[in-house]
């Protein structure tokens, strides 16, 4: 017993180091594996989000012209969509205000109070939380294209997992050929301007600058939201697939406002997918 105590005393620093390291690593894995464990020890908690909010208030003064430009662009885009819709609908079709027409997606404006773009584990913090009806697994789109999905919500803030995080996955569609692919962001290969699309069949005709959009199959985003443009095409002859690098539509180093996307029919969609 005495020897054991002496041994512990001799290696107490090493043992203490290993003990703390064990706590740190268990934090790391519990954070990776569950969203709920991270509610209090992430940037959506009260203290950290308040600090980011202060910083955002200062920053926003310097970015007002940029934010105005983004909103003006968004307005122009929405107007264009609205006007085109009026032409398309005509009197023989159901009007959007009709009770027969189900509005699946709702958009809620949110300000980005903190965004990371240069790490391998990037995150975004927005100023809307559970009291605004925000829930996890909702989409978040910017003024030009998709940004990410909500992974963590506190009362007044929410954490968004952006496209530029290795944990983010989404199915996308190549507009010209209608081929489906899997969007991911690969650590060490992609930076904040690019992402990778796998599993595009080798026979699909893909050209540089072609647009990839969302498929809507996961129920997080509506279909046809721009994701990125083709930057580089590589062929994997063995797998008979193409690996495509895209330039993301959203500039993650310069995003200030966005819209949380709520799909009212998502639970129904998941339910039916479960039954398949």
């Amino acid at each position: 017993m005495r020897n054991l105590i002496l041994l512990i005393q001799k290696y107490r620093n090493l043992l203490f180091f290993l003990f703390l390291e064990f706590i740190a690593i268990s934090f790391l894995f519990s954070w990776k594996n569950t969203y709920h464990h991270s509610t209090y020890i992430s940037s959506s908690n009260f203290i950290t989000s308040t600090v980011w909010n202060w910083k955002n208030k200062i920053d926003s003064y310097f970015n007002l012209s940029e934010i105005n430009k983004q909103l003006a662009d968004e307005n122009a885009f929405l107007k264009e969509m609205l006007l085109n819709k009026e032409i398309l609908l005509g009197k023989n079709f159901v009007k959007s205000g009709d009770s027969l027409f189900v509005k699946a997606f709702k958009f809620q404006e949110a300000t980005i109070i903190q965004s990371q773009f240069k790490f391998s584990e990037n995150h975004i913090l927005i100023n809307k939380g559970s009291i605004n009806g925000i829930e996890t697994e909702m989409g978040f789109k910017g003024t030009k294209g998709i940004i990410g999905r909500v992974v963590n919500v506190s009362a007044h803030y929410a954490n968004v997992l952006p496209v530029i995080n290795a944990d983010f996955k989404l199915s996308v569609i190549h507009n010209a050929s209608n081929s489906w692919g899997d969007l991911s962001w690969e650590k060490g290969i992609n930076d904040y301007r690019t992402a990778t699309i796998n599993n595009i069949p080798i026979y699909a005709k893909v050209n540089l600058n072609d647009l990839f959009t969302t498929t809507g199959s996961d129920g997080i985003f509506p279909s046809q939201i721009p994701v990125g443009k083709v930057l580089k095409i590589e062929k994997d002859q063995e797998a008979q697939k193409k690996v495509i690098t895209i330039e993301l539509i959203e500039d993650f180093s310069n995003i200030h406002v966005g819209f949380v996307v709520k799909n009212n029919l998502r639970s129904e969609m998941i339910e039916i997918q479960k039954n398949e």
């Binding site: 620093n13 706590i23 934090f27 990371q116």
Partner: protein, 132 residues
């Protein structure tokens, strides 16, 4: 007591500098791969007489604060603990222990520019290695 307050000021100051200045600098394509982690300075400047246990607790707290702000819970804690544990070995690389007084802070002026750059360079190298 004033010493403890000094440490707290240093932690808050460096944390804010790391998060609001260093982390915001955009190095283009290299941004994803290289971001200096300067907050470890607050641990490495501590006097030689500081016990390893005290340093490890300090490293845990600083790492935790950075992790909470960066949403990387556990990552910065574990790297800081590792470099803190190796501090005395890194110091042995640059000089014999007798070269420094136990009660001086290990900063640029007390141990010399070259030695300090090497000392802190090794610490940053270990940190970056761990992250990659």
């Amino acid at each position: 007591m004033s010493n403890s307050f000094q440490h707290i000021y240093w932690v808050i100051g460096l944390l804010f500098f790391q998060l609001f200045v260093i982390d915001v600098i955009d190095l283009g394509t290299y941004s994803s791969f290289f971001t200096p982690l300067i907050f470890s300075y607050v641990i490495f400047k501590r006097k030689l007489e500081t016990t390893v246990t005290e340093l490890l607790i300090f490293a845990f707290i600083v790492g935790f604060l950075v992790d909470v702000f960066r949403n990387t819970i556990g990552l910065n804690i574990s790297v800081l603990l590792l470099v803190t544990f190796l501090r005395s070995r890194i110091l042995n690389l640059i000089s014999a222990r007798e070269d420094f007084d136990d009660n001086i802070e290990l900063n640029l002026f007390n141990i010399g520019i070259l030695r300090y750059l090497f000392y802190y360079g090794v610490v940053l190298f270990f940190t970056m290695l761990y992250f990659t």
